[in-house]
Symmetry: C2
Subunit: 566 residues, 2 copies
């Protein structure tokens, strides 16, 4: 590669990763799945937006052909393979067995119903569903039915964690059903790919049935012999190599090699990487830390890179067909929610939970988009259908969390850091006593209130006479419920040397003031519990007391959150 | 990319990573730097070995041109940029200031002396040093002098950690000197690259002096304003994004973008990534976990990929010139050891430590190889010189650790797991008592000994009457020193339900037997200390008691080692 090509390559990669991750965070902040923002980054940098206003820039950054194009293509192919490795690691085979009957029923009805619906619709109205004239109806029906019936395991797992449902019975059933679902979906997809005409004209390729047979044998082998062999390899590699680089390299090179194998037998490389992930994820010797390193690095670099690259390939404005999007979305939602929810009710689940499960399983995501992308590359569908699938995946993912939340009346417990005000943060000298600190903080917070500082302090004092006020060693709490506010307010005063005290045994170094709405007792309790848990952690307390701004405190608390629960 | 090209790409990447990491581990096991094995993987898979015996395979896996070639090139370019990001993160600017005078003296003499020596030698005997006739003598001398005078920061840091010298005064001075060294070396190298004729003919490139000025301004900017700005960015990103994916993406995209910028102003992209690493590494808000994720993932995927790719580019057998290798090696060693050691003695360091420092600083590594590779791509040197530089880097790295160890009489403390024998591992039923367990283990270990089982048990019993024997809750220790053995032997008997006991308060679930050579008391103490530290960790003890083989125990203990100390 020439000097100028290297500049393009690094610039393109850096922009894709940076913008994708930033928009992903914006999406998360708006309570939407991050993948929405990541795809949007590609839309922004690709032909849809940047390419319309500044075509030279898009052409320079993301050329259609040449060394940079091949380099970017190689990077995104590796990215999706590694993303599927990590998705496979999340699959827990033993969980499927434990949740037995219910998970089986839900996963079967949850697949069959949308599959049948999709299949029937294509035959009934191929034009409405955007079938290109040159594609065989059976193949198109098979593809669309498959794409409509696969749930998005990573999205579902994420939503369950966010709602603190991950380790509940309902959560286990949803997860187990989604795992079975995912797996059958990939087998179906291998079949679809195998049936696409023209995919096998290349020299050295296998015929359709060899591909399907080899795929099934590969899957069966990986999940039986391969699983045991990989477990043995993990323990051997960990016994004889530097940790964790040795076992990480094992996972990564196996994913790439099995990707090559899957590609060779005629399915896409991601299928091989996914199987390696499932087989490795089941290993009792693979340590949590190893999983997390893979998970975090892939989430930071490869996932944004891949999802942003989706947005690069299609002009989303030109190829947006509202009717097609609506039809696909409607079939997808009706099929999945009725299939899963109805199945669960038939199997004896209470109806409220059953519909919550239906909404949960309705989330589509990465899988549909990858399927759509591959199908488009293979010429099976056109750009309009790809856009419709991407829109369907995004909308169902966006709806899933809020609908489950409403159905189960579950939500995230409140955390105090969310309500910490910049104006309520003070660093004071040791000439102040804790009461003066409370006054200072209350003064800062009162600027955001209707009530006067005097009313505020009076409310705090009244409460203080009733309760103990010691939150943790060296940390004093002052709280009150006020009728004039709609959201909580939190302020902090720190004094590293310790406040002047009236003879207390332990010097007070921090004062926390919490004001909550009069009518929301649950919220007050959640915030006080969160405060106690945070400040009782001695290491964290030491770091918090050393903060010099509310911003630093926020950064510290976000980066000290516990690891994901899977 | 076509189906067949994707197969090649994934196969090539999977093989490179897997074989490189495996040979890297073999090198580590032979107490050599891992990078030696990683480069060897490329030699094995590239033109030197595989290409000689099976040229079609090499041509298919690593084609000279076409999509796969560009894909691999993009991957290795990204790999080296991310490797330099991680190397930069290891640089601790405040450390340089603290070690003040001594570090400055050592780094200046340690650079000037080999630089002057290299420069003089090229002018004295250009032919002996392999100068191609078309290269200007001044440029060649400048390049070689630079390549000879840069120490390998990552290799040195690794050796210091291995020898437990990282946090000693001597370790700090070596590290600080290596950091300064590294940094000046890169500036020099930017100058060399800027001076290479033909590099600036590409349209849109800058002239030499613009490049050098821009590089200096870029470096100065990153280390002053950039450092502060990045620190602020880290805290803001951590406050507002998912952790650690948000801050990881920040680091990675900044490395890529600054890489693009450095490439654009006319130096190599790695310089930009290195500067980002140095500036970010200095951030007080960047958390240890973030560093470790980057470090481990890069060590597992990108470092092996890049170093193996070095071996792919050159035929090491054809281009091996023993005389040139010897001359380069001799100048490098003499210049560096005398320069650093002599400088340290002049600055008042005791001579034993000063020479140890000289041997430590003598380690070359990745940097020389990268410099050599870039110089070869630019047509400044030929393959013979590249091979000589690689050989020099490897040999100096190999010598560095053992020579320092000998000079300081420092070595790693012994760990019991190294001496754990498969034949000494037993899982017993609860019908056995701890004494029978000791007999069983001693019986297993005695097969490796001259002395009879009876002598062994007698020695253990004699010792047992003297000491307490309780190692940790539920773990009993039996140890003896024997005259007939040259290395320690360790055996373990586990009984998950607990051994039948003679009325002890706590059930014994594990018996550890340790036999050490009669004349090595220090070793015995180290092993017993290590055993105590290991088994007193309640979480680790629980996992150890659940092991079902010596292999599993080894795997568990290696993957539970504490994180690197930096």
């Amino acid at each position: 590669m020439s000097h100028a090509e290297l500049v393009s390559l690094f610039l393109a990669l850096g922009l894709l990763v940076g913008v994708a991750r930033a928009l992903g965070e914006v999406a998360s902040a708006l309570r939407q799945p991050a993948v929405l923002g990541e795809i949007l980054a590609g839309v922004l940098l690709g032909p849809t937006i940047l390419g319309t206003f500044w075509p030279q820039a898009t052409a320079r950054l993301f050329p259609e052909t040449g060394p940079v194009a091949f380099g970017l293509q190689a990077m995104t192919q590796v990215a999706v393979v590694l993303f599927l490795l990590v998705a496979g690691l999340e699959v827990d085979l033993s969980r499927i067995k434990r949740q037995g009957r219910m998970a089986t029923v839900v996963s079967v009805t949850g697949m069959l119903f949308p599959f049948a619906l999709g299949f029937a619709f294509v035959y009934a109205a191929p034009g409405l569903l955007g079938k290109p004239p040159e594609t065989a109806t059976f193949l198109y029906a098979l593809f669309l039915a498959t794409a409509l019936s696969i749930s998005a395991l990573p999205v579902i797992a994420k939503i369950l964690m966010d709602l603190h449902l991950f380790r509940t019975d309902l959560g286990m059933i949803i997860l187990a059903a989604a795992i079975v679902n995912d797996f059958i979906g990939w087998l179906l997809f291998a079949l679809v790919l195998g049936l696409i005409p023209g995919r096998h004209v290349e020299e050295g390729s296998f015929d359709i049935w060899t591909t399907v047979t080899a795929t099934l044998a590969f899957a069966a082998g990986m999940l039986t012999v391969g699983r045991v062999a990989l477990n043995q390899m993990v323990v051997r590699v960990q016994a004889h190599s530097a940790w964790p680089a040795g076992v990480l390299a094992l996972c990564l090179s196996l994913a790439l090699l099995c990707g090559a194998f899957a590609e060779w037998i005629g399915v896409h490389a991601i299928f091989g990487a996914f199987l390696v992930g499932v087989a490795l994820g089941d290993s009792s010797h693979l340590r949590e830390r190893t999983r997390l390193i893979l998970h975090h690095f892939v989430a930071a670099l490869f996932a944004p890179l891949f999802f942003a690259s989706i947005g690069l390939r299609v002009n989303f404005v030109e190829s947006f067909d509202p009717l097609l999007c609506l039809v696909v979305l409607a079939i997808a939602c009706v099929g999945k929610i009725l299939g899963c929810g109805g199945g669960a009710i038939l199997a004896g689940m209470p109806s409220r939970e059953a519909w919550a499960l239906g909404f949960g399983m309705n989330a589509r995501g990465a899988m549909e988009i990858i399927l759509g992308l591959l199908a488009r590359e293979a010429g099976l569908i056109d750009d309009r259908m790809l856009v419709a699938l991407v829109v369907m995946a995004l909308v169902t993912s966006m709806l899933s969390g809020p609908l489950m939340e409403r159905m189960l009346a579950r939500r995230k417990p409140a955390r105090f850091v969310r309500y910490l005000r910049d104006r309520g943060f003070f660093i004071l000298g040791s000439d102040k006593d804790p009461f003066q600190a409370i006054e200072a903080v209350a003064g800062g917070l009162s600027t955001a209130l209707d009530s006067s500082l005097e009313t505020l302090l009076e409310a705090i004092r009244r409460r203080d006479r009733l309760t103990g006020n010691g939150l943790a060693p060296g940390v004093r709490l002052a709280h009150a419920r006020l009728s004039g506010i709609s959201a909580p307010l939190v302020g902090v005063a720190l004094c590293p040397e310790g406040f002047r005290s009236g003879g207390d045994a332990e010097k007070v170094r921090a004062v926390v003031v919490v004001l909550t709405p009069q009518d929301k007792e649950a919220q007050q309790i959640e915030i006080l519990t969160d405060l106690a848990r945070t400040f009782l952690d001695a290491r964290l307390r030491r770091l918090l007391l050393a903060c010099s701004s509310a911003l630093e405190m926020r950064a510290l608390l976000r980066s000290s959150q516990s690891e994901p629960q899977h």
